[in-house]
């Protein structure tokens, strides 16, 4: 079997995300690569949550299928809502304690709640029972189930395993999912990959105010703060977040912040300040459908234009949009390094699909950049904070340094950071920033900022950015199209993009927004898009859906 998908559905509070993750771990253990989509409304208990865990023999999967091979239904709603995903071969397991027999729709019935209660478990442990049942139905050996549960359930381990065993025994084997060949790699969310990437590149502090879908970074980094000597701060507002980050960096701490659109709005004044003070900061923005509160637990790519120009005045910035955890890990570290190397804000622009999706992540795939050296003051007195340095970058000297006074300033300033209104000095500062822009462009151009996949010789190309690139890669492979993803969006890698598109006669852009923001950006650089595929209902495309839409405009 090349590909196997299982959907788990229930109510918020039932632990659907967790159950999906454990099933992902099990499928990973038996040799598959995993992608897990998690769909939930903005509420805490009730409603309908589901995950689709897709297991594949191929690396690099980043999308779900419409139809699934297995449905695990904690409630009736799951059967109703996902009826369209069933094929004749789909195996269904139903919680017979919550779904009436006449609604079982031919599924295997397991009294999850009864079993859980009998074993002395609390309601949420019904998941363990369901996982057990799923594994037996698909022929996954018990020892795999037992060991993964043992690893994943540090609390009440015995009880969970006992409950899982009851579920395992409650259903007959339906078929045997063959073992895959992939060695087991960690499953991480995009948010975790960003956090880890920042950490390995020397992050000292992470400052954030909770906002979906970025909060996972805050939660994860807070959890591992002890082990990593990281300072994690959750202050009173996003304004405080952004300004604190500047304070941290002024005192030499490599700092990142994370938020989503509404919170980012509140940071824009601080972003502009960073543009003037040249104090580095790395900003993760994870997008959801806007405007405003919008659809907070769903996905979108609607903030690109905003991020590219946010903050009053003109100043250079890096904007990087990774597609998957490997890119997120690699480029988050780079973003942190680049921000310090050039003393500019750097953005990591992601979305709910990446942030909260779970992916197989092979740590050997991305580059581990580590903390890179930055231009430092050579010790020649007097120190000038804003001295003319190479390419407009002033050598850095940490606070405190004996005998040195460091002054940064949000006003236009002279070399020492003292306020100026003098026209020539103002011009000098503007040109200092322009010089940096040129260096940043050269740096990015040298970093392979545009990735090509699919059929690199095809004359039709899919142009995509961020998370949609993952599914586009898959579609490109299926239909045989070239797939071109600029990972960096500022400075815009126009030359690399044109190179990547050399020989292409038809460009199809794919974006999760209504405006075609990458398409506009490309147009501004003289690259004409032949057809746009846009989606703006907050849901990522399923693989078949996007494949069909691309086929429809491929001509």
């Amino acid at each position: 079997m090349e590909d196997f998908s299982v959907l788990i559905g229930g109510k918020a509070g039932d632990g659907i995300n967790r159950a999906g993750f454990v099933i992902g771990r099990i499928l990973s253990r038996i040799g598959y690569r995993i992608y897990m989509y998690y769909d939930y409304p903005s509420l805490i208990r009730g409603g309908h949550n589901f995950t689709i865990v897709r297991a594949s023999r191929h690396a690099g999967i980043a999308s779900h299928h419409v139809s699934v091979d297995c449905i695990l239904a904690l409630d009736h709603a799951t059967l109703l809502r996902h009826a369209g995903r069933r094929t004749p071969a789909t195996i269904t397991i139903v919680n017979s304690d919550s779904v009436k027999a006449e609604n079982h729709a031919g599924g295997l019935a397991v009294p999850l709640d009864t079993i859980t209660k009998e074993e002395g478990g609390i309601p949420i442990m019904a998941n363990s029972c369901l996982i057990g049942a799923f594994c037996h139905a698909t022929g996954i050996p018990w020892d795999v189930v037992g060991t993964v549960l043992d690893e994943e359930m540090p609390q009440e381990t015995e009880k969970n395993i006992a409950i899982a065993r009851r579920g395992f025994d409650a259903v007959p084997e339906q078929f045997i999912l063959p073992k895959g060949e992939a060695p087991e790699v960690p499953l991480v969310t995009g948010n975790e990959a960003i956090g880890l990437g920042l950490l390995q590149a020397g992050l000292d502090a992470y400052v954030s105010y909770p906002m979906t879908p970025s909060s996972g970074i805050l939660h994860y980094l807070a959890e591992v703060a002890g082990e990593t000597s990281l300072k994690v701060i959750h202050p009173e507002s996003e304004i405080a977040v952004m300004l604190m980050a500047q304070g941290f960096a002024f005192a030499g701490s490599r700092t990142a912040v994370g938020t989503s659109g509404g919170g980012f709005c509140l940071m824009t004044e601080g972003v502009s300040m960073a543009g003037m003070t040249e104090v580095p900061v790395t900003i993760v923005v994870s997008m959801r459908p806007g405007p405003s509160t919008g659809v907070p637990t769903y996905t979108a790519q609607g903030d690109l234009a905003f991020i590219l120009s946010a903050g009053q005045g003109e100043f250079p910035r890096f904007v990087i949009a990774p597609a998957d955890p490997a890119q997120a890990f690699e480029w988050s570290g780079r973003a942190l390094n680049l921000s310090w190397k050039y003393q500019v804000p750097s953005f990591i622009l992601v979305d709910k699909t990446l942030s909260e999706g779970t992916f197989s992540f092979d740590p050997e795939e991305p580059e581990w950049t580590g903390e890179e050296p930055i231009p430092r003051w050579d010790g020649t007195h007097p120190y000038h904070r804003y001295a003319e340095g190479e390419g407009g970058v002033s050598p850095f000297c940490p606070v405190p340094t004996t005998g040195v006074v460091v002054k940064v300033n949000s006003y236009a300033h002279d070399e020492d950071g003292i306020t100026t209104e003098d026209p020539d000095r103002v011009v000098r500062l503007v040109e200092k920033r322009m010089k940096k822009s040129r260096g940043m462009q050269a740096e990015i151009d040298a970093l392979d900022p545009v990735l090509v996949s699919g059929d690199p010789t095809a004359a039709t190309a899919i142009l995509c950015w961020g998370t949609t690139s993952g599914i586009c890669r898959e579609v490109g492979d299926i239909i045989g199209l070239r797939v071109v993803q600029p990972v960096v969006l500022s400075p815009f890698p126009a030359v690399a993009l044109r190179d990547a598109l050399a020989g292409v006669s038809r460009i199809i852009s794919v974006e999760d927004n209504a405006g075609g923001q990458l398409a506009s950006l490309a147009a501004a650089h003289g690259i004409t898009i032949s057809a746009q595929i846009l989606r703006y209902d907050g849901r990522p495309h399923a693989l078949e859906e996007l494949r069909d839409r691309v086929m429809g405009v491929k001509a």
């Binding site: 009173e236 500047q246 606070v399 949000s410």
Partner: protein, 284 residues
């Protein structure tokens, strides 16, 4: 160490401006501390935007000339990055009682070890004379030519209600006292709030008014929260009353920044940790 602590920048405050007194007092206090052995490079000044904030250009110490209303979060980041630094905020009353009031309350709540000096001239100086949260009722400014209809805030009272561990008031025409209070604030372990009645010579010259009403607090037990509260409410920044100068309240409590004395991991150590974190996710 014989730096003058004053830069060569041309000073552009108006003649008679109370900011000169604050600059002088702060300089003297820093000089005294340096004299006693405190490393001058460990002093960091954070300012907002307004007339007050120009002090960042004038004092020859590390400084972060930030944006309107945001001294506290910048200072908080600096202090958390390095709790050994002596971080001082010079803020305006528009700056920190209007635009940035929430940060002020959170600094007090957290008891982070900062010294907050508010240049409270009770007017937006640099934007030419609008009312601020501490302007008296019926103040006529450029945005309220008919007079405001809002009573002022009482910042010391607000700070007491927010958990500040040092709350004091000083006045720019009482220079020695001002220096003493600033010194006390800098020495205080925890959040020290100093509301400085600062004369604005151009837009709200209250010299006579203050001179007639100010008195130094004496025989007051500043460790007693209830008497502090009463002192703080004696004058409400609007009606006529004696105006107490001095430290209303002082206590020692755990400081927020203390838990951030963390040594960073080296590059290689970090990579190992990251690998370990990833390995938690596979067979152990």
């Amino acid at each position: 160490m014989s730096r003058s602590l004053i830069t060569e920048t041309q000073n552009t405050w108006c003649p008679g401006c109370g900011n000169f007194a604050i600059e002088h007092a702060l300089k003297a206090v820093i000089a005294a501390r340096v004299e006693e052995g405190f490393p001058p490079e460990n002093v960091v000044l954070v300012t907002g935007i307004g007339c007050h904030a120009k002090i960042a250009d004038y004092l020859d110490v590390n400084s972060f000339y930030a944006i309107h209303g945001r001294t506290i979060p910048v200072a908080t980041g600096i202090k958390l990055a390095n709790p050994d630094l002596c971080v001082i905020c010079c803020a305006g009353d528009g700056d920190c009682y209007a635009e940035g009031l929430d940060h002020l309350i959170f600094a007090a709540k957290r008891n982070i070890d900062l010294t907050m000096i508010v240049h409270n001239n009770r007017v937006y100086g640099l934007t030419t004379g609008q009312y601020t949260p501490t302007s008296p009722l019926h103040f006529k400014g450029r945005s309220t030519p008919g007079g405001t209809e809002e009573k002022p805030l009482n910042p010391p009272a607000l700070m007491l209600a927010s958990g500040a561990t040092m709350v004091a008031r000083a006045y720019t025409r009482k220079l020695d006292h001002l220096s003493t209070i600033i010194r006390e604030g800098i020495d205080h372990p925890g959040f020290a709030f100093i509301d400085v009645l600062q004369i604005c010579a151009s837009f709200f010259n209250m010299t006579e008014y203050y001179n007639e009403r100010v008195y130094f607090i004496e025989g007051h037990d500043s460790s007693d929260f209830w008497s502090a509260w009463q002192k703080a409410r004696e004058w409400d920044y609007s009606s006529d009353a004696p105006i107490a100068l001095g430290t209303f309240y002082r206590s020692e409590e755990p400081m927020f920044d203390e838990k951030y004395r963390i040594t960073r991991q080296s590059g290689e150590g970090r990579k190992r940790t990251v690998r370990k974190l990833l390995e938690h996710r596979i067979r152990q």
